[in-house]
């Protein structure tokens, strides 16, 4: 971070006095920066007060208790990407924070028993639901949920003696329920990773490696569906498939982040357009329009790549794309037969 903003508010007058004693270019720059910092501090204080006023249940907190959290959130989500954000932008951002959730979390951090009770009561079902979604059995889900609550409460103590729970990382930008689901998801992945590492033996790893190699052989020629007895033709198909695969990978990698995310969500994760649109924060129709546009763009880019990187002519590139797609659509039986017969048989057929 280029500019560290103090979390403690200081009187603007004092800052101005101090700055006034400094002369020269450096002094002016510092004064501008300090003024900005003071302004931001003022906006944060006002925003925290508004946030507290918005909360249905303030849980006995004052604005001062929220200022550090609000300031950190502002820094993380707005000022890091837009250091020169206007006061209106900052106000808008601060007003979009979840007042009740933030008050609840801050109160919990202050060991307010009532707040803990409310947190448990409101979100027990959410945590359990997320845990069930991440685990295969009810027992495992129960165990995961308990771990999440333990993590939230904090198993370790900070320097000042207070428990260092995960609640300290909640910013109020999203809902507390969503945050808890994310915590459960991350914890589930961590646990799965640890468990998998513990369970996997050397023999298993060897077996996995062998399997993956075999898989790799199978998948590399994924575009070569129609097995041909003609070796030359088979070789040509294989080369075409590899070239297409590489070109597509490159084109996808070069896409804009949002476009790439849409492709990944729709084709790689198998989401529906409506779901992919929801993740992207757009309507299904918008996602569909974007996908249609991407098809055209990607087709052009893949053709250009095949021409430039693989020395194909434009006609060859167009024909190969059409051919590959047609083979995929019409000639699925050989693929299924090859897959069912095993990799070796498939390989033999191709060779």
């Amino acid at each position: 971070m280029a500019r560290a903003l103090p979390l403690v508010t200081c009187p603007p007058a004092l800052v101005t006095d101090v700055i006034a004693s400094v002369s020269g270019r450096a002094g002016i720059e510092r004064r501008e920066m300090s003024r900005t910092t003071a302004e931001i501090d003022g906006l944060v204080c006002a925003g925290a007060a508004r946030l507290l006023a918005r909360a249905v249940e303030a849980r006995g907190l004052d604005a001062g208790a929220l200022v550090p959290r609000v300031r950190a959130t502002l820094e993380k989500y707005l000022l890091r990407d837009r250091p020169g954000a206007s006061g209106a932008d900052i106000d808008h951002f601060l007003d979009s924070l979840r007042a009740d959730d933030l008050c609840l979390v801050v109160a919990c951090e202050r060991n307010d028993e009532t707040a803990w009770g409310a947190l448990m009561e409101q979100f027990r079902a959410t945590v359990m639901s997320a845990a069930r979604g991440a685990c295969s059995s009810e027992d495992a889900a129960e165990e995961l949920a308990q771990s999440v609550w333990a993590e939230l409460y904090g198993l370790r103590a900070r320097a000042d003696g207070t428990a260092s729970g995960k609640l300290a990382y909640y910013s109020g930008c999203g809902s507390l329920g969503g945050w808890l689901r994310a915590v459960v998801g991350q914890l589930a992945i961590d646990r799965h990773r640890k468990t998998a590492r513990l369970v996997q033996t050397e023999e298993d790893a060897d077996f996995d490696r062998l399997t993956s190699e075999q898989h790799h052989d199978e998948t590399n020629d994924g575009f070569m569906i129609a097995a041909s007895p003609d070796p030359e033709r088979a070789l040509a198909r294989r080369e075409t498939a590899e070239a297409l695969h590489d070109s597509l990978s490159d084109v996808i990698a070069e896409l804009e982040p949002e476009d790439k995310l849409l492709i990944k969500l729709y084709y790689f994760d198998g989401l529906r357009l409506r779901e992919a649109g929801a993740v992207l924060g757009v309507h299904e129709a918008t996602a569909s329009r974007r996908l249609t546009r991407l098809h055209g763009e990607m087709r052009r880019c893949v053709a250009a790549k095949l021409v430039s990187d693989h020395g194909w002519t434009k006609q060859e590139a167009e024909r190969s794309l059409t051919e590959a797609a047609m083979n995929l659509e019409t000639d699925l039986r050989p693929l299924l037969v090859a897959k069912a017969g095993g990799g070796k048989a498939h390989k033999e057929l191709l060779e």
């Binding site: 890091r80 969500l265 779901e275 047609m326």
Partner: protein
């Protein structure tokens, strides 16, 4: 809106993705090590960043920054996707709840639901319906009382049918005294007018909506007094020409008025009926003497108040001198009335009846009894599943914690929403399995209609 998808590119990308997935699977052990290193180095997005991204709560630059990471990091993308989908399911549930709420208000399935829809906080009948019910019940009770009271009045009227002797007396009075009819007629008219006024006053009073507090707060004597005055005035007016009871029966217009008064205030019936014979004799004497003396209607009307006072005294006297037979017959009538009203309580003492024993209490008691009966019927078939009590309503099982005014979320068995719900609360699945048909279950304050 449909867009033309490049099918060739679509197929190529699908195959490419499959190859990529296979390659990733093959390189999984290596990735594990790399991922662990990434976590240590802080290369992955933290939970806060993931949830903020999934909820679209980030500023645009930060969002683009994280999108780039998510496009390359399968692990973070998976978590972000799961959070987004979970949020979407919750959002859909909310939407469907909002959509179903008005629909359930407009097209209720059963009469119970329709009734409950009317009584929801948004229903216009919420306050009107109890008021109407109260009015209906009170009017029914009044009607029952009226029926009970009409019979004795009719009997009384029949008993007052003119005897030939009295008719002859009337004819003689009209025929012999040349001035008397003309003199007494205005006086009688004035008295009748006064009686009409009094009756009208009473009519107006009786026409007012009878509120229990009003009636209760009214002292029994104050309720009786104006009525007895009016009745006495009316009787004075009626009896003046003929000086006896048959004249009252012969007069067409005031008679129904008296009846109206009697009807509208049943508690005032007793004094009137008791006082009737005495009034006829005594007031007829006084009125005839007054009219004969002055022949002036004005004077007669001035004397009206005196007559009324006298009549009050005479009523009291006559009450004391009431034959015991009438008292007995009156008691019998009251008993008959009590039976007709089907009041579950035994016949109340006369004094409490006269004080205007609140009919609303009876109505409320009857309503309460009816409600209890209904509740007993409803509570006939209940089952307890997963620690919750369910009541059968037609072909449906309803959680006893469910309030009819509560909006329900329709969830079909086997649907995505149902699976999500069941994942959150396995007891819902067990409940859905326990009941074959439609179930309404309240979970975490929200009502779900499982079909």
């Amino acid at each position: 809106m449909k867009f033309e998808i490049d099918k060739e590119m679509d197929a190529l990308l699908r195959r490419h993705a499959q190859c990529g997935a296979d390659l990733r699977r093959a390189a999984a052990p290596k990735d594990d090590v790399a991922s662990a290193a990434d976590v240590v180095a802080g290369a992955h997005l933290d939970a806060d960043q993931l949830s903020a991204y999934a909820e679209n709560a980030l500023p645009a630059p930060a969002r683009a920054h994280y999108a780039a990471h998510l496009a390359d990091c399968d692990e973070c993308r998976k978590i972000a996707t799961s959070i987004t989908l979970a949020n979407n399911i919750a959002g859909e549930l909310e939407k469907s709840a909002a959509a179903i709420a008005p629909a359930s208000q407009t097209i209720p399935a059963s009469w119970r639901e329709r009734l409950s829809a009317w009584l929801t906080p948004h229903g216009a009948w919420r306050y009107a319906l109890p008021l109407i019910a109260l009015l209906v019940v009170s009017s029914i009770v009044l009607l029952a009382l009226l029926r009970g009271d009409r019979q004795p009045t009719g009997e009384l009227a029949q008993s007052r049918e003119p005897s030939p002797q009295s008719a002859a007396t009337q004819e003689i009075d009209q025929g012999t005294d040349g001035e008397a009819p003309t003199a007494t007629r205005p006086a009688a008219e004035a008295n009748a007018n006064a009686a009409d006024d009094a009756a009208t006053r009473n009519d107006a009073r009786s026409g007012e909506p009878i509120s229990p507090s009003k009636e209760d707060s009214k002292p029994a004597t104050s309720a009786r007094e104006p009525l007895s005055d009016a009745a006495q005035s009316a009787s004075v007016g009626r009896t003046a020409p003929g000086e006896n009871a048959p004249a009252v029966a012969a007069l067409p217009s005031p008679a129904p008025r008296v009846e109206e008064v009697v009807v509208s205030k049943p508690e005032a019936l007793a004094p009137i009926t008791n006082a009737q014979p005495a009034r006829i004799d005594e007031s007829s004497n006084s009125v005839s003497s007054n009219s004969a003396r002055s022949g002036n209607a004005q004077l007669n009307s001035d004397n009206q108040s005196q007559n009324a006072a006298q009549n009050r005294g005479s009523v009291r006297d006559m009450n004391e001198a009431e034959p015991q037979q009438q008292e007995r017959s009156r008691n019998q009538e009251l008993a008959v009335n009590a039976r007709r009203q089907k009041s579950r309580a035994p016949a109340k003492p006369e004094s409490t009846k006269r004080e205007g024993a609140p009919t609303e209490k009876k109505a409320a008691q009857a309503a309460q009894d009816k409600k209890n009966e209904d509740d007993e019927d409803v509570a006939e078939e209940t089952r307890i599943v997963a620690g919750r009590r369910f009541r059968r309503q037609g072909s449906m099982w309803v959680d006893t914690a469910y309030k009819p005014s509560q909006a329900t979320v329709v969830v079909r068995r086997g649907s995505e929403q149902f699976r999500a719900l069941a994942a959150d609360a396995p007891e819902l699945r067990s409940i859905a399995n326990a009941f074959g048909g439609e179930v309404i279950v309240v979970w975490q304050g929200r009502a779900y209609r499982i079909r």
